[in-house]
Symmetry: C2
Subunit: 702 residues, 2 copies
């Protein structure tokens, strides 16, 4: 049994080796023409510069939290501070590595696309996989090291907060990376498009548009680095939550005796999530090796193969691993883990639940199904009806997502109880928390497939800017449109796991507070908290959307200025180049400035409410988790649906490009930009940051 953390160490090292190997493959590939190299260089520079500046700002925040964790009276000091730091540093490192390779893979994918999709696809995937396996590998590495350290040095009883602090460190980075990246990418995209496409009448990604480079940088800092940090946090959180919960449940099982008093039997429950992480990692590595470019096979089939192999193996490994780990049917207090196979079922419920949520996202956002077709249909009567229908469909899409999450909660609760031979109150909660790690067991492949999207998108932009032949752009477009679908699935995993993880952290919060918290909905403090909590995601959406608007305006002013002041730019005279660097600067500064208020609120609000009234904080968290989940689904799906309705029209429906219908669909797409890439994804991290802050600080509140 004590082998589990070491198995996890080995799995993480394997993941990092795979990332290293893929990085080598990517960097060895040819960058193409001199112009492509130049453009690639500009994008990379812009992206890395942003990341450096972002990390510099965030490091101030991290330092402050580090000190705060040393000062406030929580358990496990000072180890918690160092665990926090480790979480933050490892997440940053994963972001740096992943982005460095993603910004190398884009030019190389564009160049490979000259030889067809079969060459380009695996390169883009490998580029994304570097992020995927850096994220998953470093997260699992951090947790295993933490586990080994705190069991030995601190003792198990009070040390759950150390593991939680590791999660908080990851959350801190994710919070700012998601918000900052989301604002950056949409400021450049919306601002650039509005002047370029609408006013100047030049196509997307045209090298004459000064914001084109900033837009490409945005794809990297938003969809690669932001998403990577988000999933680092999600993955870490999904393991941290059940470990912490188990460490709090065992004393309940033991009717008050400490965890340490019966650690031998109880340890399995704490290690089990780590084991699933390790097994899922190995499954993901094998899956990733299945993604190869083959002529004549469908692109989506090739990309999905890796995911399906990883999922199937995870199921097999989980069943075997569970039976082996709990072969002795350990007894904790009066509870006997008599049917451990049910714990494996909770993992499977999570895995397929996440996949199913992703599938419903695809239904609502793919042009093959009714919702997007209906939105495209509404474009015939102008932008207003497109917008109304897009909002309606996005809101409607919360129905299947909620039903799935609720079913997952119910089933995993049931299975958690059955594992101990009786369905029941406290026991079931452990099952619920396991569903999240089930969902994210294959994080390596999920992130790989998700980060593949912006790399393909970037490659398309580079092909356009480097004036490669149109058939190359055709190849990259086919890769890109596939990326939109895979991104929908990845978002399903991300948001589904966010809800379940936040719920598990919330239960841990309640258990930690114990008798000192009374979370009956009828309690007036809880009611007040519920209102305030449910409001927070609305405010968060408002702030981030307004930020995008303001930043886009600044971009518009600059692009207009360049078109007006640089002679020959609009006309595309040879040798006349825009000043892309200034646009990159504007996006960078706007994103950094605008991320502070919403990011700060996410940390400060639960602290303020918690110090005033812990019951209110309980209501606050419940309201925020539920509403945040709904808004995340709604905004992501509305945005995705608008995007694909536009693409559906561009492919020829309702008259195609240049018609009024197309213009109406473009409006929908632009509205959807901050929905799907800024505000929506920020909800996942918002709800987890708020719960994990509350969990870590709850001893100080009481």
């Amino acid at each position: 049994m004590t082998a589990v953390p070491y198995l996890a160490l080995i799995a993480s090292v394997l993941a990092l080796l795979l990332a290293y190997y893929f990085a080598k493959v990517v960097l060895r590939a040819d960058q193409g023409t001199e112009l492509m190299r130049e453009i690639g260089e500009a994008i990379r520079e812009g992206a890395m510069a942003f990341l450096r500046r972002e990390y510099r700002w965030v490091s101030v925040f991290v330092a402050a939290m580090f000190v705060l964790l040393l000062i406030v009276p929580i358990d496990g000091r000072p180890a918690a501070s160092f665990a926090y730091l480790m979480g933050a540093v490892l997440s940053s490192v994963a972001g740096f590595i992943g982005m460095r390779i993603a910004t190398a893979a884009n030019t190389r994918t564009a160049n490979a696309a000259r030889q067809g999709a079969a060459k380009a696809l695996p390169l883009a995937f490998k580029g994304g996989a570097v992020m995927g396996f850096s994220v998953a590998g470093l997260a699992l590495l951090g947790i295993s090291i933490n586990y080994l350290l705190w069991v030995k040095w601190i003792g198990v009883d009070q040390a759950f907060q150390v593991v939680a602090a590791f999660g908080l460190g990851a959350s801190s980075i994710a919070l700012f990376a998601r918000i900052g990246g989301g604002i950056y990418t949409k400021a450049a995209d919306v601002g650039g498009d509005l002047v370029g496409k609408v006013e100047a009448g030049i196509p997307e990604d045209d090298p004459r548009n000064p914001a084109t480079i900033a837009d490409a940088v945005g794809d990297n800092v938003g969809d690669v680095a932001g998403m990577g940090a988000d999933l680092f946090e999600s993955y870490a959180g999904s393991i941290v939550a059940p470990v912490v919960l188990a460490s709090l449940l065992v004393p309940v099982f033991l009717e008050g005796d400490s965890l340490a008093s019966n650690f031998g039997d109880a340890e399995g429950l704490l290690m089990y999530p780590i084991l699933i992480g390790a097994l899922g990692m190995i499954a993901s590595i094998i899956g990733a090796l299945f993604v190869r470019g083959r002529e004549g096979r469908s692109l989506s089939g090739q990309l999905h193969t890796g995911q399906y192999v990883a999922m199937a193996l995870t199921v097999v490994f989980a069943i075997v691993g569970t039976l082996v780990l709990f072969s002795g049917s350990p007894t904790i207090g009066s509870y006997e883990l008599s049917a451990p196979i049910f714990l494996a079922f909770t993992i499977i419920v999570g895995l397929f639940g996440g996949w199913a949520i992703g599938f419903t996202s695809e239904y609502f956002t793919s042009e093959h199904f009714r919702p997007v077709k209906g939105i495209a249909q509404q474009s015939e009567t102008g932008p207003a009806t497109v917008t109304i229908e897009g909002i309606a469909q996005g809101k409607l899409s919360t129905l299947p997502a909620v039903v799935l999450v609720v079913a997952m909660i119910g089933l995993s609760y049931l299975f958690g109880g059955l594992a101990f031979g009786e369905a029941g109150d406290v026991i079931g909660l452990y099952g619920v928390s396991l569903a999240a790690i089930g969902m994210l067991a294959v994080t390596g492949v999920i992130v790989a497939v998700d980060a593949y999207g912006p790399i393909a998108d970037n490659a398309g932009g580079i092909a356009e800017m480097a004036e490669l032949p149109p058939e190359v752009r055709g190849v990259t477009d086919s890769l890109d449109s596939l990326g939109n679908t895979t991104a929908a699935v990845a978002k399903g995993f991300a948001v589904g796991s966010a809800a379940v993880t936040a719920l598990a952290l919330f239960k841990s919060f309640s258990l930690t507070a114990g008798d000192q918290v009374f979370l009956d909905i009828n309690d007036t403090a809880v009611t007040i908290g519920l209102f305030l909590g449910a409001m927070t995601p609305f405010i968060f959406a408002a702030l981030t959307m307004s930020s995008v608007g303001r930043a886009a305006q600044a971009m518009i002013v600059e692009v207009r200025r360049q078109f007006a002041e640089i002679p020959g730019l609009r006309e595309g005279e040879p040798g006349v180049k825009p000043d892309s660097r200034r646009c990159v600067d504007i996006s960078t500064q706007a994103a950094l400035r605008e991320m502070l208020l919403p990011g700060g609120l996410a940390v400060v609000l639960p602290l303020v409410i918690g110090f005033i009234d812990v019951n209110a904080l309980g209501g606050f968290l419940a309201g925020a988790v539920v509403t945040g989940f709904l808004i995340a689904i709604y905004m992501a799906n509305s945005g995705g649906a608008w995007d694909n309705a536009k693409k559906y029209i561009e492919a020829g429906a309702h008259g195609g490009k240049g018609t009024d219908a197309h213009a109406a669909a473009v409006v929908g797409d632009t509205i959807g930009d901050p929905f799907k890439d800024t505000s929506g994804p920020a909800m996942n991290i918002l709800i987890k940051v708020m719960t994990i802050v509350s969990l870590v600080f709850v001893p100080a509140f009481l």
Copy 2:
């Protein structure tokens, strides 16, 4: 003390007499030219035809509920069934009367506008006041009669459900009137505008547009009848909720003894809300008499005077009435009502809380403040940025509203406790429920001022269609724009009271369920309910928005057909008239068909969940109330802000009419139509219907 219900009877009769007097005044006024009379006739016919058909459909639903209430094992049968019927019938009657006079006041206001605003304003106000005082008068009448009946005939202990059933009857009508009316009005408005203004290039309210009459009908069935039914329900609910809660609290005070055992001392708590209703009614009547047309005084000043007088008198009356009613400091069990003045303070908190929420709505939706100016500013970069900023501002506007509601809950909870000499758990709840009746004490004037808006709007349309001189349209426009502001304030009262009333009903639900319900947020069933409940307003918004989209499409097809097939219509040749009747039919049928699904869900969902698991229903209601409140605020304010941003530009900002900025603002306005007039207002009634259904049926669930 037993005089209170009789006082309420007298106040209601006075209100109805005032309505009768105002109706006489309106009907005596001159209808103007033959053409005006004809147009007015067409609008009235369309509106009354819709109302009749709507009531016919709804009567099936009401009959089914009547039978259901006879069958299921709830307390107070069969009186509950008849109380239910009485609530439904009185609400319908109020709607009929109010709409009949509103559709008479519109032409007469247009005609009076030929002699200036000082003549037209009081006429439009009196037209609205008929609805206002019919609604308030009949609601208070129904409650007083019910109270007198059930105390005598059924006995007090089990009879709270009879009063609740009265509220449910009112809710049933309001539910369908709000949804059906909301869909009707926006189908005609959006559909007519999109073809007329955008495609055919003819101005709003032009007699050539076949949808113009349907649009004017829509203002009546949506903003007059729908709003009237809504406020009948709100007002009734705000009195019913504290009465029911008091009848459930007293046994708690008496430590298990029945209400009947100590009715003498306890009765005051049950009568107090009725007393406040009666006193507020008298204050409203006096206030309404203060609204007179005077040359040279600001229009808004004259309209607001009535409201302020009513509010000031209510404060005075409430303080005096409270001290008189509770002069003996009654003792209930071990609780002595030693400081009754604090109960009056809860009333005042409610009254000013509602007003303050209205004021924040005005801040976010009036062109005098930053939010609307910011939205108008974003019109410079097109419809997408207008939409993004409008959504952001609407979501941001939930902040002050939630803070106010939370403050109201906290303060009235505190005062409720202090009235009994100790702040405390159960006692405070009674205080919270009183805040709602405080907020709606002046319903008569609120509805009058709110229904004034659509009458002025209709008058403008009639002036346009009847080709009156432009200065008449100028007068009606000035009346109309004032109506937008007063409507914002009325919406503040409506939504604020919805949240507080629903909360009070929810507490009653919990008290009725007693020990058989366990609403800890950590309970898995409660968690699942919370997710499902929070989702429901999203689905409700999606369904109603899609309905408007579909109905508008049908309207567009018909208007296009008429322009294509009726020669000379578009060109405006003399003698060529559109077939308005078909457009009225289309709106009517669409509204009736589309209201069934969302309306049915609101009733069926809590029943289904309740019969499965009452804990889950508790979570469900809490989630729905909180999210419904947020979405109501957000959608109403986004919609109102877009509307006024457009008007702000039309008044000359950003280049005025005909510019791209104006076109962008029109898109925002159209998106806002279903936001502010269909989905948003439907939330208030949704959350109350669901809680009151749960409350009435809770004995059957257990």
